[in-house]
Symmetry: C2
Subunit: 341 residues, 2 copies
């Protein structure tokens, strides 16, 4: 796994600690640190693990404020570009970054290219709900979508959920503001009809509209939406989970009589909040020619390890070929019957 | 307060119980039940409170599956229409429904009319975050918006927060997918410029883009977005809060040693979940000529009481005139400098 050493709010410390945790915990995994050679050497030496990782030198970093596409073109030695080159050239099976989503996506598109039939890639997030995993896409790779792009997401997400979670017929839901077909803006109404057509053609199972709360567990295994709405939804869920934790912590820290003390409940809260919050925000970039995992910018070492583990699984499960086959089938169909309205 | 007896998943029982609670708890409030006369009489008699409420007879109910505008026109004796007529004719100071948002909005528009300068109304939700209240609009009254409509929401939301929470200069944020001006879809980029113009003209304080998690507490007092995104965000937050509660409950019910027991923590969880979930979903319909509060369809009696209390406060605080003045100022400005791009 090629790991972007310099991406994320707590880089490079959280990234290196996450990498070492992954090496300790995951069987038969090796990690290539992509970043400034001296920084990487020092971080490894400081931890007494000088030989733990291979280092792929890359001197440039793309910041959160930069225009991703322009920065990726301009910075030939950017960490995300070098990581993507490793995947392209067979030096790594997958790449992981917890830095700028836009920069990672731009580097993946630029270096690895799109799968056939893909207009724009999508970020697919696995949400660990009490009712089982829900795959939400797009979580923010592409801010705008038309009905044909939502159809690509539906096919890619369906293939992803089928392989990743062993679901023979993942149920795909279209995110809207009510379950009836008539609910939603014009994009959802068009997408509803396109997805109905794909279901009739046997390309996926479409269960109709779902709503925001279904991302926390509901009738759908896969929830499809545009990247703007998906990003707002995920961040809102993260905020709400943190809010519940804060409110509960405040309640528990109140000098209430009884056996509930901060020491006993707070660790539970932290664990649950972590599961719903940042842990839920690592995502697979679907639609590019390679395994790319983008983690949350605020990733802790544990979250970096989680992103690495996800990349390893996606590679070993052969998720990419399944997604490519689904998209190729859709693409073949599209050339006969235009999906775009 | 004119109360729609037949709206909501648990109507009419939860509605009548909420009304009686409101009468017991709120000083100097009277409630007019709007619904079938015999149903209302029986419910009151069953509870030994035959004289507690005035009854305004209305025989028709608009269901969740009906087209709201068509149903409101066709059903002259619908509860939401009769309630809106009471407000229009001075028989009530405010109306409350926990039924279909679309039907209540259509009835309010049809009977009460729009305030000057309003293209479409918005549903404003008060989110009780640990950092203080955040007003989110539109939470789902209107599925599509252009930059000029978002500007109306910003002005109306700003006036609302100023009066309701005594904030002299409410900070308005535009919901997007990153804090930089360049983040977001074309609608947000246009709206960013329009809101910057309104701030320069002194009509409001604009702090730029905010993100989904800021709805759970952040730099903005007022968060502005289209009704589609707002609805998805709120329902997602509700789902996440419920998910945290479920996960924690599962953890706590595990046979863990120690003093944390279900009996001590579960009531706290239920209370917090209620505060973040359905309690957060009662909203004021801004932009119509009258005080209209629309509660969550799954409202409990306690949530119905909360919606009634909100309607009473909005009336007593004179929020409506403040919103009308703000919108009139925006409208006067628009006629000189076109806000629509």
């Amino acid at each position: 796994v090629a790991l972007d050493l310099m991406g994320g709010d707590q880089a490079p410390e959280a990234v290196i600690d996450g990498a070492l945790l992954a090496l300790d915990e995951l069987p038969a995994v090796s990690v290539t640190l992509v970043g400034p050679e001296q920084v990487a050497r020092r971080l490894l030496a400081d931890r007494g693990r000088s030989e733990a990782c291979v280092i792929a030198p890359a001197t440039q970093v793309i910041g959160m404020g930069e225009d991703p596409a322009r920065a990726v073109r301009a910075k030939r030695d950017a960490t995300v570009r070098v990581a993507a080159q490793l995947v392209r050239d067979g030096g790594a099976d997958a790449m992981v970054s917890v830095g700028s989503t836009g920069a990672t996506m731009a580097a993946a598109l630029f270096t690895l290219g799109r799968l056939p039939g893909v207009t724009r890639p999508a970020l697919a997030i696995d949400l660990p709900t009490p009712a089982g995993p829900v795959v939400l896409l797009d979580a923010g790779a592409t801010v705008e979508a038309g009905p044909d792009l939502l159809a690509q997401y539906a096919v890619a997400g369906s293939a992803y959920a089928r392989i990743r979670y062993g679901l023979p017929h993942p149920r795909v839901g279209l995110l809207s503001v009510g379950s009836e077909r008539s609910k939603g803006d014009p994009l959802r109404k068009l997408a509803y009809d396109v997805l109905t057509g794909l279901a009739e053609a046997g390309l996926l199972v479409f269960i109709g509209n779902v709503e925001g709360h279904d991302a926390a567990g509901g009738p759908a295994d896969v929830i499809v939406t545009d990247g703007f709405t998906g990003n707002v939804l995920l961040k809102g869920m993260e905020g709400a989970a943190a809010m519940v934790t804060t409110l509960l912590t405040g309640t528990i820290l109140d000098p209430t009589p009884g056996p509930v003390t901060a020491g006993t409940v707070l660790p539970l809260l932290a664990e649950v909040s972590d599961r719903v919050g940042s842990a839920a925000m690592g995502g697979a970039l679907l639609g590019v020619h390679g395994v790319v995992v983008i983690g949350h910018g605020s990733s802790s070492p544990r979250a970096v390890t989680g992103a690495i583990a996800q990349a390893v699984q996606l590679h070993r499960q052969d998720v990419l070929p399944a997604v490519a086959r689904g998209l190729a089938a859709l693409s073949g169909r599209s050339s006969l019957h235009a999906v775009t309205p």
